[in-house]
């Protein structure tokens, strides 16, 4: 049994920043990370991040991940356990984790869940053929393992992820036949769209995938136009030859552990799925548990880092650390979050966060 003051589940930007903040106030911290390399989504991002300088915008995702990890590894108050998946949080607060087929028992005083998000799927005939991957899988293969997913890709989804991954495919020498997007306009930032259009990759809005086909693996796809009500327009079908179909149709919070721990949950469309109800200090309705990052609403690395810090301060403070300094640090992080969410691109997130706040002040769902 490992006794620890604060257990952090997930070593992405949110988890790493939470660890730093909590350790800064004096708490001892254990991070359990499922992957071999902590860093979450950051370890796969070769592009320079957008956002504000305070959250390292302008640096490449991989560099930000390395930097955060360095800070954590050099802190004697923090222990990092890679290759370790947290699989259960029990009623009495006991946590079970799995590492190389061994079960570890952990007894933390507070838990910060920072598990990130999972990719969404699409329904269409043939969607289970080998060669149909989530955008994250394509990135992992290509940018972590250095193996290309195929020769010619159909990208489904023109949000930031679809656009960025198409560019990353080009960096790896893979052709993207087209990026298709159901909505009438692209969802991602124009800078990313222009970058791939300059490479000659067609971005086709108002299109969806009707079917994938192939003998044992993907050999092509049929795409077709959508009308304003998202119905397929008959006769508009087109055949696209490709050996890989990459789905970049959004993420949804990875909340199994929150459900298990009895946190009160609500479906908030603006935050991309079911999320735990939290107060402004990021504490859930289970007083032992805090959350930070995409798990409490799919957003960005910048906000995940700030939420991480806020949750770290809050959890440490609840154990009596930094009682004099924590309030101003927490207020600072909250102000930073407001600032990040001030722009028109954040309308949706702001509405989602407000919905959660309202539910919490009303005392439940």
């Amino acid at each position: 049994m490992i006794n620890v003051e604060i257990l952090i589940v997930g070593g992405g930007p949110a988890g790493l920043c939470a660890a730093n903040a909590a350790a800064d106030l004096g708490a001892s911290v254990l991070i359990c990370e499922r992957d071999e390399i902590p860093g979450g989504q950051l370890v796969k991002q070769t592009h320079k991040f957008f956002g504000s300088r305070k959250q390292y915008a302008g640096d490449r995702g991989i560099a930000i991940g390395d930097f955060l990890l360095d800070e954590v590894i050099n802190d004697p108050k923090i222990e990092v356990m890679p290759d370790t998946t947290v699989i259960g949080i029990y009623e009495d607060g006991l946590v079970l984790a799995e590492r190389s087929e061994e079960i570890i028992k952990i007894n933390p005083r507070k838990i910060i869940i920072a598990t990130g998000a999972a990719e969404k799927f699409l329904t269409f005939p043939g969607n289970d053929l080998p060669g149909i991957y989530g955008a994250g899988a394509v990135q992992t293969l290509m940018n972590v393992a250095g193996v290309i997913p195929g020769e010619r890709v159909l990208m489904v989804g023109a949000g930031n992820i679809g656009l960025i991954v198409s560019y990353q495919l080009a960096q790896a020498g893979v052709e993207t036949a087209a990026v298709i997007e159901g909505a009438p306009t692209i969802g991602g930032y124009l800078v990313h769209a222009s970058k791939i259009q300059r490479l000659g990759i067609p971005v086709r809005t108002g299109y969806t995938i009707k079917e994938a086909y192939g003998d044992g693996k993907v050999e092509g796809a049929v795409i077709c136009r959508l009308d304003a009500a998202w119905n397929m327009i008959e006769g508009s079908e087109e055949d696209i030859k490709c050996d890989t179909i990459c789905l970049a149709v959004g993420l949804t919070p990875l909340t199994e552990l929150c459900w298990q721990a009895g946190c009160e949950m609500a479906f908030i469309r603006e935050l991309s799925g079911h999320v735990p109800l939290i107060d402004k200090y990021l504490q859930t309705t289970n007083p032992k548990i805090y959350v930070a990052g995409d798990v409490s609403g799919v957003e960005e690395a910048s906000s995940a880092m700030v939420e991480g810090r806020l949750a770290g301060y809050s959890a440490a403070c609840s154990l009596g650390y930094g009682l004099d300094t924590a309030p101003s640090l927490q207020a600072g992080a909250m102000a930073e979050l407001d600032e990040l969410r001030a722009g028109p691109m954040s309308d949706r997130i702001r509405q989602g966060v407000e919905k959660v706040e309202k539910m919490v002040t009303k005392g439940g769902v």
Binding site: D35, T46, E119, D128, P130, G131, I132, Y133, A137, A172
Partner: protein, 101 residues
């Protein structure tokens, strides 16, 4: 196929090792997961689904979805996307739910 030249990334693949896929000898690198090594050799089908016996391949690559279950050294239901290859490892296509020996 492996990426040999990349404008930003470098890959430290570690040493070359041999493993077996359905009894056939294959080469990979010590840093690679089963799925990465198979993919590099052009193998995308990892097993067959339990009910309709349709081919199954990779989907998430981070151990989240169970689309990549294979039989490894006789043990079924191993997530081939997160387990690394080892010298002499026997990797096999899994059909359905797998049997415990």
């Amino acid at each position: 196929m492996r990426i040999e030249q990349h404008p930003i990334l470098e890959f430290d693949r570690k040493e070359k090792i041999t493993f077996f896929f359905n009894g056939q000898e294959m080469e990979g690198y010590a840093s690679e997961t089963i799925v990465a090594a198979l993919h590099a050799a052009g193998v995308k089908e990892l097993g067959k689904s339990p009910e309709l016996h349709r081919p199954r391949g990779l989907f998430c690559a981070i151990g989240n979805c169970s689309s990549c279950l294979m039989v490894v050294d006789g043990q079924p239901n191993v997530r081939a996307c997160v387990v690394k290859i080892k010298p002499g490892m026997q990797v096999e296509l899994q059909s359905g739910k797998g049997d415990l020996k």
